[in-house]
């Protein structure tokens, strides 16, 4: 549905040239909900705006539903209004001089679509039903709450019956509770209507909850693309691992084991075993990673690989879980225990922690990558 090939975009700023996006390629299938995830300045918004036609890329090709909308050779550029899109902006972009009905109707009356009066009315009502704002037609846009403005923006996009829906951090201005509600609602409507969506966010939990496919961006390139579960369980590199969820990192050096594992890694905690299938030769500096929920805690020394005795430095009760900050040989590790009763008593100051080899990720460390 959307195919991006070799997209490159640079900006001239006061400080010189900034390469916002470097030769990225991405394929999004019809009906898929794709999220571009990354920190601010990673190029995700630029990519989205190139798809919208609001930016002209320097190089690369963008195809929307078999129509080339951008290409370098031959020179093709289809204007935003001719791309048949819907878009939700971070600021909602609700026109303040119009009421709710007019906000949704304006593109239908004056845009490329030019529908009859009756059709416009039907479309607007249908869209308002969809976002549960029926009866608010004559409200002024400026009298709406943030959540309602968000819904009007959604309705406006849906009323255009777009081939592709673009969303640029649409939930970042809402409060936490409303944000969770809207996540669910947006996902439900798009998948119900079979709309292809491209969604930009820096919020990892949004990506994990909503996406069919996540593309993690950093420094203008896509680091990894996959389903949320795939990305969470098997991050390909340190940046993705750092960006998605929490992870403990332990510096080390591979001392033994096969090229594709299991790897024996010398760390300040002793020799640890990782079952990762990543190719690493002996002698290379590596970083081991384990998610806090994968750290198992035992009162007695268990018969297992990678079992260590650690002291408890700090504990944080979160209600549905407890997070322990553990220390061993100067290395601090977080463990998240969700079972109740926890294996830890309030008076204990030490416990056994096990890093299961299958849960212990292995990355090439930043120095050895260069």
């Amino acid at each position: 549905m959307i195919r991006i090939t070799g997209l490159t975009k640079t900006y001239q700023t006061g400080q010189g040239t900034v390469k916002a996006v470097r030769e990225i390629s991405l394929d999004i299938k019809t009906g898929e909900f794709c999220i571009l995830l990354g920190p601010s300045g990673c190029g995700k918004t630029t990519t989205l705006r190139c798809v919208a036609g609001l930016e002209r890329p320097d190089l690369g090709e963008i195809v929307i539903e078999d129509t080339v909308v951008n290409s370098h050779q031959p020179q093709i550029y289809v204007a935003p209004e001719d791309r048949g899109l819907g878009m939700i902006f971070q600021s909602y972009a609700i026109w303040p001089h119009l009421n709710v009905f007019q906000n949704i109707a304006l593109p239908l009356q004056h845009g490329k679509r030019k529908l009859s009066r009756a059709e416009v009315r039907d479309r607007v009502h249908e869209a308002l039903d969809l976002v549960r704002l029926r009866g608010m037609e004559t409200r002024r846009a400026t009298e709406l709450s943030g959540g309602q403005q968000q819904r009007v923006a959604l309705a406006r996009a849906f009323a255009c019956k777009p081939k592709v829906l673009l969303m640029d951090e649409p939930l970042s201005n809402l409060d936490a509770k409303l944000r969770e509600e809207m996540r669910f609602e947006i996902k439900q409507i798009t998948s119900g209507k079979g709309i292809t969506a491209l969604y930009v966010t820096h919020d990892q939990s949004e990506a994990l909850v909503m996406a069919d496919v996540v593309a993690v961006m950093h420094g203008g390139v896509i680091l990894q693309r996959g389903s949320p579960a795939d990305l969470y369980r098997n991050p390909e590199n340190l940046e993705v691992a750092q960006f998605l969820g929490d992870m403990n990192f332990i510096q080390g050096r591979k001392v033994d084991g096969g090229l594709r594992g299991p790897h024996q890694v010398e760390t300040p905690l002793g020799i640890l075993t990782s079952a990762s299938a990543r190719e690493v030769s002996r002698g290379n500096a590596v970083v081991l990673g384990i998610r806090p929920e994968d750290v198992r805690l035992y009162r007695e020394k268990p018969q297992a690989d990678n079992a260590l005795f650690t002291s408890i430095v700090h504990r944080q009760f979160l209600g549905n879980a407890t997070v322990y900050e553990l220390e061993c040989n100067g290395v601090r590790v977080f463990a998240r225990a969700t079972i109740y009763p926890t294996p830890v008593d309030s008076n204990m100051d030490g416990i056994f922690a096990v890093f299961d080899p299958s849960c212990l990720q292995l990355f090439r460390s930043a120095e050895s990558q260069k």
């Binding site: 036609g53 930016e55 935003p80 209004e81 878009m87 972009a93 303040p96 490329k112």
Partner: protein, 566 residues
């Protein structure tokens, strides 16, 4: 990195705008600089010379005139401080009753031409027949008039009164930008209002206050009408009136070379003032904190001091507005000015009002109307284009464009009019002596104000609002018609109205570029004054009433529309 820049890059238009603006602004000014090194009449060959500068700098007259100018600046500044600071405190920080009313009155006062007030004060205080002088002389049995209106202190005082309202608006907006928590924390820690005012508020306000005073110092040395009316009769010159005198001499040929060199010196002098103004402003902005919405500054409750507050408002408004206006009305009723008393009421007549159309003359009314409409339309169109480029585009030299549009604001009106005259004469442009040269002058002078006000409007209109239209299938033209224009419309109209009214009250350039073909109401009143005071006064009264009504109505309608959208 910010990526909110779209495809709306606009091709060659911004470059054309820049070149046009630079040509409009630098053409006349450059010609004046060039001309200040020459003698003779513009458009005729003459040698290059330093005579104008050498002559000016070696003459003791010049130094006296410079001292007069500085004295006028300082005197005005002190008057503005004495009235402006208390007024700004009352209107910006206290719960003074009917605050909006007072603010509207002050904004109308800005629009009332200074020359009308100066004429009124002559009627009140001239040494021979001034109403107040005569009354005091009679009361105390004095031989000589106690107050001489034709003196530098009087000029400074009256000029200060008429520059106070804009200064109040400037200081009040600085008050509003101040972080309220700075004072609240002082209050929580046990300090009282008066201590906070002395120890926190005023020190924090100082840079903004000094900036405002510097700005009005510069404005004072640049103004022409009040020093011309009150200074020329007793031959007290300041630089602006000297320039006028050199280009419109009572006898002999105009000396454009000398006028140009004085103009350049005046511009340099005000540039120094503006330099310090911008430096202080930068400091003031460091103290300013942008606070979130919904915040409301706590106002100081005046309590029983309320009446003292209203008293001070009147203490300012009586000499600044009420007394001059009543004098003007009184003068318009009598063919020969009478001291106010009930005995002379039978001599009063409305003749001056019934003859008003004839007195103004259809040509003058047509000129005035054209001047207002075309100036305002041209300024707002150009300003909208420039602001759009400055705020929205990725044009490389947009900062230069912004400065170029603001530059004429820094050139005194007298000098700018002189520049236009020299420019038009040198290049034999047919606009010299027509109403078009006045439009040209007014338009370029107002461009700085127009772009500043539209810049702030455009910044508030998020780019997303345009792009939302585009992405959902509206062409750029449709977005312009259906989204942008409705949003900036009220501001455009508001600005249009303000500039039209400023053009209506403008007299400096109109006098400098005066010819029998381009008389407008302001210059008509000016020349009628000596021949038929009652008629001139009646025209003045009508002018003030029209300005006040238009502004009250326009503000009422437009402010509601602007408020509805924000």
């Amino acid at each position: 990195m910010k990526t909110n820049q779209g495809v709306l890059e606009g091709g060659k238009t911004p470059l054309l705008m820049l070149l046009l603006t630079l040509a409009l602004v630098l053409g006349p000014i450059g010609t004046t600089i060039w001309y200040s090194f020459r003698t003779g009449l513009p458009g005729f060959p003459s040698p290059y010379t330093l005579k104008n500068y050498v002559g000016a700098l070696s003459s003791p007259d010049t130094y006296r005139i410079f001292l007069n100018t500085l004295g006028l600046g300082v005197g005005t500044m002190i008057t503005v401080l004495c009235f402006g600071l208390p007024l700004a405190l009352l209107l910006g920080r206290t719960d003074l009753p009917a605050k909006n009313f007072w603010l509207t009155v002050l904004s109308v006062e800005i629009l009332i031409p200074g020359f009308l007030k100066a004429f009124s004060w002559i009627l009140l205080l001239n040494p021979r027949t001034g109403i107040i002088n005569v009354a005091i002389m009679g009361l105390l049995g004095l031989e000589k008039a106690p107050i001489n209106i034709y003196s530098l202190p009087a000029i400074s005082f009256i000029q200060g009164l008429s520059l106070t309202p804009p200064a109040v608006f400037m200081i009040v907006s600085a008050f509003r930008g101040m972080d309220v928590s700075l004072e609240e924390s002082a209050r929580v820690h046990g300090m009282g209002y008066s201590t906070i005012t002395r120890k926190i508020t005023l020190p924090l306000m100082m840079p903004a206050l000094v900036a405002a005073l510097l700005y009005y110092f510069v404005t004072a040395i640049e103004t022409f009408e009040i020093p011309a009316i009150l200074g020329l009769p007793s031959r007290i010159f300041v630089i602006t009136t000297l320039i006028y005198d050199q280009t419109n001499p009572d006898a002999g040929l105009p000396n454009f070379g000398k006028a140009s060199s004085m103009g350049i010196l005046l511009t340099l002098l005000s540039s120094v003032g503006l330099y310090f103004y911008f430096r202080t402003l930068k400091k003031a902005n460091q103290y300013a904190v942008i606070t979130g919405k919904g915040y409301r500054r706590k106002e100081i409750a005046l309590g029983k001091w309320k009446w003292a507050g209203i008293g001070f408002m009147l203490f300012y408004l009586v000499p600044a507005l009420i007394l001059p206006f009543l004098t003007l009305i009184w003068a318009s009723l009598f063919r020969y000015l009478q001291a106010p008393s009930l005995k002379v009421l039978h001599l009063a007549s409305l003749d001056a009002y019934t003859k008003i159309i004839d007195a103004a003359g259809p040509a003058v009314l047509k000129n005035t109307g054209l001047l207002m409409v075309i100036t305002a339309t041209v300024v707002m169109t150009l300003s909208a284009l420039i602001s759009w480029v400055v705020v929205r585009s990725r044009f490389k030299w947009k900062k230069l464009l912004d400065s170029a549009a603001f530059l004429p604001h820094a050139v005194p009106s007298v000098v700018f009019a002189l520049a236009l005259a020299v420019f038009a004469l040198t290049f034999r442009l047919p606009i010299y002596g027509t109403i078009f040269i006045l439009m040209f002058g007014n338009a370029i002078k107002s461009l700085g104000w127009g772009t500043r006000s539209l810049n702030s409007t455009m910044i508030q209109i998020h780019r997303d609002l345009e792009e939302a239209g585009q992405v959902h299938g509206m062409s750029r033209l449709q977005v312009l018609r259906k989204v942008i224009l409705p949003l900036i419309g009220p501001s455009l109209l508001n600005g249009w109205m303000w500039i039209a009214l400023l053009a209506l009250r403008e007299v400096t350039m109109a006098l400098m570029l005066y010819s029998t073909r381009n008389v407008v109401i302001s210059t008509q009143i000016w020349s009628l004054w000596r021949a038929d005071t009652a008629q001139a006064a009646a025209l003045g009264v009508v002018l003030v009433v029209v300005i006040a009504i238009v502004w009250f109505v326009a503000r009422g309608i437009l402010e509601r529309r602007i408020a509805m959208q924000s």
